[in-house]
Symmetry: C2
Subunit: 218 residues, 2 copies
DNA sequence: CGCGTACCGTACGGTACGGTACGCCATTCG
DNA sequence: CGAATGGCGTACCGTACCGTACGGTACGCG
């Protein structure tokens, strides 16, 4: 018995399959309750049998969807090993803005809701995937910047993981849990930038050595 | 047709009803998946008919359970309007420890999972109840302390809500989302106290005016 | 003693949903 | 042009679970 496409395992989804996964995301965002296989098939204009052939079962479909969404977030590889104070501040600000934009987006909220609901049971750890591509992915990207900042004498900390976690807390605060619990906070870009700026300033106040260069404007 | 007990609405649950709600909590913690009315009836040694008579429907039972758990958390009313640096630090430390103990507890994790899963749909906002008794309740208790600290010249901030949210972020960081997503972090009391202490120090570093009294030991 | 009340245990109906089977059409390839 | 393949639509099955109905029992009260 050859599986026509073992997409459920690891392969990148085909274009048609991506359309299906986008349909799943759409349904998640609209109403996480009626995320049924029939609804997905209807929305994606495909048959349920195809869904099962491609993704195995419902969990496989959800897992593929989470992976698909995760694969979109990755972007912007990093360079610039030499840091001055302004650049460090700028990089941190970028991370904070990006992170806030992600977690306040309806897709992230819906996806995290599904993953958290699933985390109660044991099978198919969506939570692990979301964590790996969210919290941990951003951590692995921020920590080198922090360490570069330390190497440049701009930051002082012993444990980069601990430093990142503080940064994480200063940026996110109570926003994610409030959104997940159903509160409707509306963030425009200006608000996010303001929040991110405050978080970066606070982080630098806690961990900055030279209080960043004095001739820093705006 | 008189309802024998309109408990579903607002009254405090009877002792027998509390036992039922504790059974629900037990099932939530053990395995949020099989939280079925049959399972609750079996666990609580009562009939399903009684469940429906007392709580109306499944959502009513869940809502009553969330309220019941929420009613337990409230404790320790506050006094001490005059603050010195050591007392302020101690109060904040207490709040941080209490909060960390709550959110890392299995009951809180299970309850938040249920509420978040429910927050996707519209009906019966468990999320609102959890927010009101968790995030917002602790906020309303911390803010007066912060304001007293400001009145005593120990803290400097414009918006007590914003100051509290920073405190919240410094204390919780990524802990809650990681737990909700299924990661198994084990915190003992020592770890929690260490974390709380770090958060308080960082908060005071950001918002403290006089760096708290110099002859503060321990 | 007999009756009502409250509750337990359980069986049942209705329904929603995951998963499967099958008929049909379109495209492609020999 | 005929056959095969892939996929859509749909009907169908089994099951899980919500909500209800019903029989049986213990207890209080006239």
């Amino acid at each position: 018995m050859m599986q026509t496409s073992a997409t459920a395992e690891r392969d990148a989804p085909s274009v048609r399959q991506q359309a299906v996964l986008d349909a799943v995301l759409g349904l998640m965002v609209e109403d996480g309750e009626q995320l049924t296989m029939d609804a997905v098939a209807r929305r994606a204009s495909c048959s349920k049998e195809t869904l099962y052939k491609w993704f195995g079962d419902r969990d496989g479909l959800l897992t593929a969807t989470v992976r698909w969404q995760a694969s979109r977030v990755h972007a912007g590889s990093d360079a610039a090993h030499v840091l001055d104070g302004a650049t460090l501040r700028e990089r941190l600000q970028d991370f904070a803005v990006t992170w806030l934009e992600v977690i306040t987006g309806p897709t992230s909220v819906a996806l995290n809701r599904i993953a958290i609901a699933h985390a109660g049971s044991r099978k198919s750890n969506l939570g692990g995937i979301v964590l790996a591509n969210g919290r941990f992915a951003i951590g692995e990207r921020v920590k080198p910047v922090l360490e570069a900042g330390r190497a440049a004498g701009l930051l002082a900390f012993a444990d980069s993981e601990a430093a990142f976690r503080t940064f994480f807390g200063l940026v996110g605060r109570d926003i994610q849990i409030r959104l997940l619990l159903g509160e409707t906070l509306d963030f425009d870009g200006a608000e996010i930038r303001r929040d991110a700026g405050r978080a970066v300033e606070q982080f630098l106040a806690l961990y900055g050595r030279a209080t960043t260069d004095p001739n820093h404007h705006v």
